[in-house]
């Protein structure tokens, strides 16, 4: 076949493009109150790990529903620890919590994932990914069969998560996604996913609880969950720098049911290439920010030539401008100015108009409704008096 041989490299190209250019992490704690200290410590520990491995703050979205460091019951104010030895202060002096307190809601989480955010949302609170972004989604809190509780007030179901991910996939908002969840019956949360290229793992099976690891008697509460603890142990001890070649398979194999006290689950079937491909992904493909940099070839370009080029470009632009102006008989400049003025005016008026129009509409609507209601009442009264008179 003439075609097939010619097209082979092209057909292979999209598959070979299995390269991501940015890494993002979405770290979500969902529970409030002092006795849930460990959930916030889980999130902060993961935050510290991904930051250590090179994901910049602008690409980490952290949701913390409560502020343990400043909780009045914290006997070590300003700090959060994930271990009773209190060697490492997770709060440190440089953390960026993107959504905090009552901002952590199911709606905000779904808005974040699908990027349906208000216009004035700062970029640091948005997940601005594209088809070349790998995303780590880590969630922890109290959950149950196919749901995860947000702040004792609402819950996100496995269906909501699956739909959010499917919308992301449709809009090409991720390249590969690692979903990690530490909660009771965690494995049910990823059971409803149906979008491709997702690797999912959870701490416990259906009808299994996820347990805390240990408590700090001075802090007074449990400081970390088991599943997260053993994940961190592996990441801290084995994945020491962003160039680590360890794979997700090795991380998953390190889980020990006797230590975690529940059975962690994995889901590979959505991933392009199945379990083997998923397990061979490097840990830093999701927890780090590793890109293939292109070193400029040492051969320096001629600097004087470059300067000449710049000058020539400048001349070319000036020439083009002059010609443009001449050919249109001075009209363009005036026109430009006019256009600019019009443009700015239009923008101005549009903004104003919008506000006014909305008010008008609203008040018109209200008036119509009010009038109709009045007429209706009068009609009813008239009808009833007529009926009475019969």
């Amino acid at each position: 076949m003439k075609f097939s041989s010619a097209l082979l490299p092209l057909l292979a190209a999209p598959l070979a493009a299995a390269e991501h250019t940015s890494n993002w992490a979405v770290l979500v704690g969902t529970s409030r109150f002092w006795f849930n200290y460990r959930h916030l410590a889980n999130v902060l520990s993961l935050y510290r790990t991904v930051k250590r491995l090179g994901i910049p703050d602008s690409q980490i979205i952290m949701m913390l529903p409560d502020d343990m460091a400043c909780n009045p019951r914290n006997s070590f104010p300003g700090t959060v620890y994930n271990n009773a030895d209190r060697a490492l202060d997770l709060y440190g002096d440089n953390i960026e919590v993107d959504y905090r307190g009552y901002e952590v809601t199911v709606e905000n989480f779904i808005r974040l994932m699908t990027d349906r955010v208000p216009e004035n949302m700062p970029r640091s609170k948005r997940l601005m990914t594209d088809e070349r972004s790998n995303i780590l989604v880590y969630m922890t809190g109290h959950g149950g069969n196919e749901f995860l509780k947000f702040q004792d007030a609402e819950e996100i179901s496995a269906y909501d998560l699956a739909d959010a991910f499917s919308q992301m996939w449709e809009k090409k908002r991720y390249h590969e996604l690692l979903f990690m969840i530490d909660t009771c019956q965690a494995n049910t949360m990823y059971s409803k996913f149906y979008s491709p290229n997702i690797i999912a793992t959870g701490s416990s099976e259906i009808d299994q609880s996820s347990y805390s690891h240990h408590a700090d008697s001075d802090v007074g509460v449990a400081v970390i969950d088991r599943y997260t603890y053993y994940n961190l142990e592996f990441l801290e001890n084995k994945v020491r720098d962003p160039t680590s070649e360890l794979t997700l398979g090795e991380l998953f194999d390190s889980y020990d049911e006797d230590l975690i006290h529940s059975r962690p689950g994995f889901r590979y079937d959505l991933f392009n290439g199945g379990a083997d491909a998923a397990r061979s992904r490097r840990i830093v493909d999701f927890f780090g920010n590793v890109q293939n940099v292109e070193v400029d070839d040492g051969a320096k370009r001629n600097e004087t030539q470059w300067r000449e080029e710049l000058e020539a470009i400048e001349k070319m632009i000036e020439e083009a401008k002059r010609r443009h102006n001449e050919s249109l008989n001075v009209r363009p400049q005036a026109l430009n100015v006019m256009e600019e003025v019009q443009h700015s005016e239009r923008q101005h008026t549009i903004q104003k108009e919008g506000a006014v129009r909305m008010d008008e509409e609203l008040s018109w609507k209200k008036q119509v409704i009010g009038g109709a209601a009045l007429l209706g009442c009068a009609g009813i009264w008239a009808a009833s008096s007529w009926l009475e008179s019969l």
């Binding site: 779904i110 216009e119 996100i156 292109e294």
Partner: protein
């Protein structure tokens, strides 16, 4: 229950009273003392009316209100058109490039030269979506006009916009002919020929025609490859048309697509100076940018706009997990390993967060190593700069080694920044995806315009397709009318973009494609399109039962009882008759 005689008696009297009031009531009712008396027709109908009116309120008012308030408003979208665009069934972009030929020869000779050249060119072309169309400069040149052209070379500037390239034939007596020279700063190709070539222009074997055709083919080879690659990766429909790209070309194009930033109408450039010590604490960046960057950015202005900010960060240390540079005795330099470079930027500490401005940020980081670790280079290659795909570039500026003992530089002059600025401008060029060939900058820019227009058309189509998918898959999300409006606009501008492409007005096509893409994005990311969170059926029962139970039971029971009575009465009447 006790049944005292007097109670019965009083009932009886009451009944008889009723009977007396209503003489039309059958007198039988008064006779049976054990049963309650049969009620009057009027009270019967009154009760039925009451029940009916309750039902009427529930059905005519309650149901519609419930339906209205719980229904999810979904505006109608042209789903079929949206998926058709996404699948590439409509709006296949084509790229007919107009190439004007200007020759100081007789019009009929020019005409036959063009015809012959076009013929050869069509034979060479393997990619049907991309066509080069030769045409004479119009109005056809007379001898006078050609003189005029020589005097004022810019006569054609008015319709220049739609003409991609101008071929100017220049007769020469000396030197090798035919030969060509592509003007680096204007879209003009000079072809030098000896007058003897003209005599044979009408034959297909004309050396001049063949030469021009080959030259043109070479000039647009990279553009064709790029467009072919774009078409093949974004829509399967076009794949059959793609001519065979050599393996290495495909690999290079793929590498480029990884590197190149997505199109945005505005990019934000951030230039940062990082130094691990307190020096240099100042740089003459404004002047350097004005001199070395402004012309380049200006020349891109037809495609994208740029905003710029700069910053200086002192005591900016490398990340603790970054392996420290090693001293290389041979090169007499400190070296960084190639594989560590991606961790060079200390993302946790260096303030390189995206700007608050619109549009993606392109970062350019200039790192001045401390005196004791200078010069700092990349191992093996000896390079001092590298490009991070879709992020920006890094350059290391080693202060001149002659002043090893002198006090470290406190400020960087414009001249000292020149090498770094050259690196950055090269990096910016490759990040923006400007092709490497041909040598003429305006031609490369117009190539970029076409590539960007095409990629925007594809991106807008795929967004519309995604929206159609989401609309069909998730019935629980509301779709307001603004979405339908945006979709209509996007479709309209997509069509216009494709029309402009077909007519060879590429700048206009880019404009329309940009609007289409913006509207499609706006439609997809409509803020109110966040569905109600998932509600299992048992939850619905739990919500409605306490509300509907107390209302529905009396309503239903009353209706049932009435119907039963009516049926019984009907049967009795039938039996009686």
């Amino acid at each position: 229950m006790a049944t005292p005689e007097d109670a019965n008696a009083s009932l009886k009297t009451e009944v008889s009273e009723i009977a007396s009031v209503h003489p039309n009531q059958s007198p039988k009712s008064g006779v049976s003392s054990a049963k309650p008396p049969q009620e009057s027709t009027r009270s019967l109908w009154l009760r039925r009316t009451v029940i009916l009116s309750f039902w009427a309120v529930a059905v005519l008012l309650g149901l519609p209100v419930w339906w209205k308030t719980t229904a999810i408003y979904r505006s109608d979208l042209p789903l079929q058109a949206m998926s058709d665009w996404a699948e590439g069934k409509i709006g296949k972009p084509v790229f007919p490039l107009r190439i004007a030929v200007e020759a100081p020869i007789l019009p009929q000779d020019t005409h036959s030269l063009i015809q012959t050249t076009q013929h050869v060119l069509d034979d060479l072309n393997e990619f049907s979506a991309h066509q080069l169309r030769l045409m004479p400069v119009d109005p056809p040149l007379t001898a006078n006009a050609s003189q005029h052209v020589v005097v004022d070379g810019t006569r054609n500037s008015g319709d220049d916009k739609d003409t991609t390239l101008l071929i100017r034939l220049i007769p020469v007596e000396t030197g090798e002919t035919p030969r060509s020279y592509l003007q680096p700063y204007s879209p003009t190709l000079h072809v030098y020929y000896s007058p003897s070539h003209i005599s044979s222009v009408s034959s297909t074997a004309s050396p001049l025609a063949a030469f021009i055709a080959r030259e043109l083919h070479d000039i647009f080879a990279e553009e064709q490859a790029q467009l072919a690659y774009l078409l093949s990766t974004t829509s399967g429909e076009h794949i059959a048309k793609v001519h065979s790209l050599p393996q290495e070309t495909a690999a290079e194009l793929q590498r480029r697509s990884t590197r190149v930033l997505k199109y945005a109408p505005t990019y934000h450039l951030t230039f940062s100076l990082f130094t691990p010590t307190s020096t240099p604490s100042a740089w003459d960046i404004e002047a350097a940018l004005r001199q070395y960057m402004a012309p380049l950015l200006e020349s891109f202005s037809a495609i994208s706009n740029f905003t710029i900010d700069t910053q200086v960060q002192l005591y900016a240390t490398l990340s603790p997990s970054f392996p420290p540079p090693e001293y290389d005795e041979n090169a007499k330099a400190w070296t960084l390993r190639n594989e560590d470079l991606s961790g060079f930027i200390n993302a946790a500490e260096w303030p390189l967060s995206p700007s608050i401005a619109d549009g993606p940020t392109v970062n350019f980081a200039l790192y001045v190593p401390e005196q004791s670790q200078s010069p700092l280079l990349v191992k093996d290659s000896g390079a001092s700069s590298w490009l991070v795909p879709q992020w920006g570039g890094v350059a290391i500026l080693n202060p001149p080694s002659t002043e090893q003992d002198a006090a470290p530089l406190s400020a960087l002059s414009k001249e000292a920044l020149a090498p770094a600025m050259q690196t950055f401008s090269n990096q910016l060029i490759s990040l923006l995806g400007l092709p490497q060939t041909p040598a003429s900058l305006p031609l490369r820019l117009s190539t970029l315009t076409r590539v960007r227009a095409a990629s925007l058309v594809f991106s807008a189509s795929s967004t519309l397709g995604a929206l159609a998918q989401v609309y069909q898959k998730l019935p629980s999300i509301p779709v307001p009318d603004t979405v339908a409006k945006s979709v209509d606009l996007a479709l309209q501008h997509l069509q216009q973009a494709c029309d402009e492409l077909r007519e060879g007005r590429f700048q206009g096509a880019l404009e329309h494609a940009r609007i289409a893409d913006g509207e499609a994005e706006k439609a997809f990311f409509e803020r109110s399109m966040v569905g109600q969170v998932y509600f299992p059926d048992e939850h619905k029962v739990a919500v409605y039962l306490p509300l509907l139970g107390p209302i529905a039971v009396p309503l239903l029971m009353a209706a049932l009882k009435e119907i039963k009575n009516e049926v019984a009465a009907f049967k009795a009447r039938r039996a009686a008759s």
